[in-house]
């Protein structure tokens, strides 16, 4: 324990003391005097990863509250029931990535597909299920408020967005089967059911037409599932399905999946 050690320690202590003072000054400067600027964005190319041909089945769910499962007390939604049904049929491990956002419209989905990580998830998927368009048609979920002219305009815009969406999905992932789930008429028991049903049918037809332009995109109807006793299958908001409604949708999609897979092999 020489004098050198002590002198050395004093110097080190003084130097690190200056560092702590600097930190303190930085704290004062940063917390009291800095002008907040919003975090800047800087894009980076997504890492190139594509669908892996492994045993695991990757399912990506996209879209709006229907895919999210709003209205189902158990929170499963049709995606959950679909996976339940699939698990009964296969031992393959299934991984679900649910990227649906409540209230999403076709333009919102198109924007979401611009995110690199979403693109990566889509690229890795073995199967894609999606619902979109419900919020484009029933704005706010109250009732059909648009008149004929507005409806035509909304449909035109929706079909154009859907075309872009499908094109983008096919660009990121050329193989995975896409199930585009159609709309039902939640207002089937109201006075103007005739009109709303006609509009929903028309809307579904437009979706199916767009889907038909691309390979391996299947438009799945749900209109018939809710045609009779619609209130038995709707949640208390009279718009979203309840657990029973979701179960019907989920089982319908699940039945399609097995068929398609056997067809592939």
């Amino acid at each position: 324990m020489g004098r050198r050690v002590v002198s050395f320690l004093i110097v080190v202590a003084a130097l690190s003391g200056a560092l702590w003072l600097g930190g303190l000054a930085l704290a004062v400067q940063d917390q009291f005097f800095s002008v907040a600027k919003p975090p800047t964005k800087e894009q980076r190319p997504p890492t190139a990863e594509t669908r892996q041909h492994d045993e695991k089945m990757d399912i990506v769910a996209l879209g709006d509250s229907l895919t999210r499962g709003t209205g189902d007390e158990s929170g499963k939604g049709y995606v959950g029931y679909m996976v339940d049904a699939l698990r009964r049929q296969t031992d393959r491990p299934i991984r679900v990535t649910n990227l649906a956002i409540r209230g999403l419209r076709s333009d919102g989905l198109l924007r979401q597909l611009g995110q690199p990580e979403i693109q990566r998830q889509v690229a890795m998927a073995d199967l894609i299920v999606m619902t979109i368009g419900g919020n484009d048609l029933f704005q706010g979920g109250e009732a059909l408020r648009l008149n004929a002219k507005q409806l035509d305009e909304a449909k035109r815009r929706y079909a154009a967005n859907l075309d872009h969406i499908f094109a983008a999905l096919r660009r990121f992932n050329s193989e995975a089967v896409i199930f585009a789930i159609g709309l039902y008429n939640p207002f089937g028991d109201l006075n103007d059911a005739k009109r709303t049903s006609a509009v929903v049918r028309d809307w579904n037809f437009a979706s199916a037409e767009v889907a038909a332009r691309y390979p391996n995109i299947v438009a799945v109807p749900t209109f018939d599932l809710f045609a009779l006793h619609v209130n038995d299958y709707l949640y208390s908001d009279h718009f979203h399905p309840n657990a029973a409604g979701y179960k019907r949708i989920g089982e319908r999609v699940a039945s399609l999946i097995t068929l398609t897979e056997e067809g592939e092999q």
């Binding site: 202590a13 930190g23 917390q31 980076r44």
Partner: protein, 326 residues
């Protein structure tokens, strides 16, 4: 004067306490590192996927869904939006915000050590600086020398400041070096958010901004050093006032522990915010955590601590100058 300081530093080094402190830090950091390691392993097993990007994307979608909820206060919405932006920022820059790395460990370590562990280590050095001389009687030898009394005390105080600085350095270096063995040494450029201000029930997000982790850690170290100096000064004062080192330790320990307990129960006792021991968690303000008492801010806490520290220093010098030594 420099010789006096050197002399005091020599005494501290001779007592070998600094090495004991280094050993304590090393052992505890190794323990915490192992605990953290076990936890991350556990998490990995539970979530099934090792792909952090998938997890983060899922969190983002969850946030976006919560933002759709109509019954949400404007402030809370803003806060969630900022968190959303932060997470998207992480994703776009390919940074894993929960990536275990030595800098992340260091940051959490300082945040948790600032109110009890670091002050405790400082007390180990500060508690007997004067009282041991008084109880051993060596104070007389010190005071008969032709040096002004305040110079003697000042040299002791400077030696204390140097020791605090060394303790902080040991904590920083050891926590980085040891945890890095397990978690890796990278991660200093990880961007983090700071500048949240709690206003009652609401959150003021006007000043939120992003800083790299190295800057964040430096800020936290600066604040921790400030807290350590204040606690060290108060211990120093007690050491002047009392002859028994054990009594000094007892009083300061009681104060620190009462601070930790009080922080959890004083939210309705507003004047408690003027006690130094509930103001020790300065790093919480950087993080954006709620303060123990409404209305406390970083500036307030720093001011309270500074006043206590200065008062302690004045009392120490006043008493030391006036006291009869026999």
């Amino acid at each position: 004067m420099s010789k006096l300081v050197y002399n005091e530093m020599l005494k501290i080094v001779r007592k070998k306490r600094l090495w004991v402190i280094a050993a304590i830090i090393a052992v505890l950091v190794a323990l915490f590192t192992y605990a953290q390691y076990r936890e991350t392993e556990e998490l990995r097993k539970r979530l099934g996927t090792t792909d952090w990007r998938t997890q983060l994307q899922q969190q983002i979608v969850d946030l976006q869904n919560r933002l759709q909820s109509p019954s949400m206060s404007e402030e809370w919405r803003k806060y969630l939006q900022i968190r959303l932006k932060q997470q998207q920022y992480y994703l776009e820059h390919n940074i894993n915000p929960s990536a275990p790395g030595a800098p992340t460990f260091m940051r959490t370590f300082i945040e948790n050590a600032i109110d009890l562990f670091l002050p405790l280590l400082v007390m180990v050095v500060a508690a007997d600086l004067v009282s041991s001389e008084a109880s051993a009687g060596t104070i007389k030898l010190l005071l008969v020398r032709p040096v002004k009394r305040w110079k003697i005390l000042l040299s002791k105080y400077i030696a204390l400041l140097l020791s605090v600085s060394l303790i902080m350095l040991m904590a920083a270096v050891l926590s980085y070096a040891i945890s890095g063995l397990v978690f890796g040494y990278g991660g200093f450029r990880l961007p983090l958010l700071t500048g949240f201000v709690q206003q009652g029930e609401d959150l003021n997000t006007a000043n939120v901004h992003m800083i790299p982790q190295w800057k964040y850690i430096l800020i936290e170290l600066g604040l921790a050093a400030f807290v350590s100096v204040v606690v060290g000064t108060l211990t120093f004062m007690c050491s002047v006032l009392l002859r028994s080192t054990a009594a000094v330790m007892g009083i300061m320990l009681a104060a620190l522990i009462s601070g930790a307990i009080l922080s959890n129960m004083v939210s309705s006792w507003h004047s408690a915010k003027y006690l130094f021991m509930v103001n020790l968690r300065l790093t919480d303000y950087i993080k954006g955590a709620a303060p123990p008492i409404e209305g406390m801010t970083l500036g307030f806490s720093m001011a309270v601590l500074a006043v206590w520290g200065l008062a302690g220093l004045l009392v120490a010098f006043f008493v030391f100058m006036r006291r009869d030594v026999y």
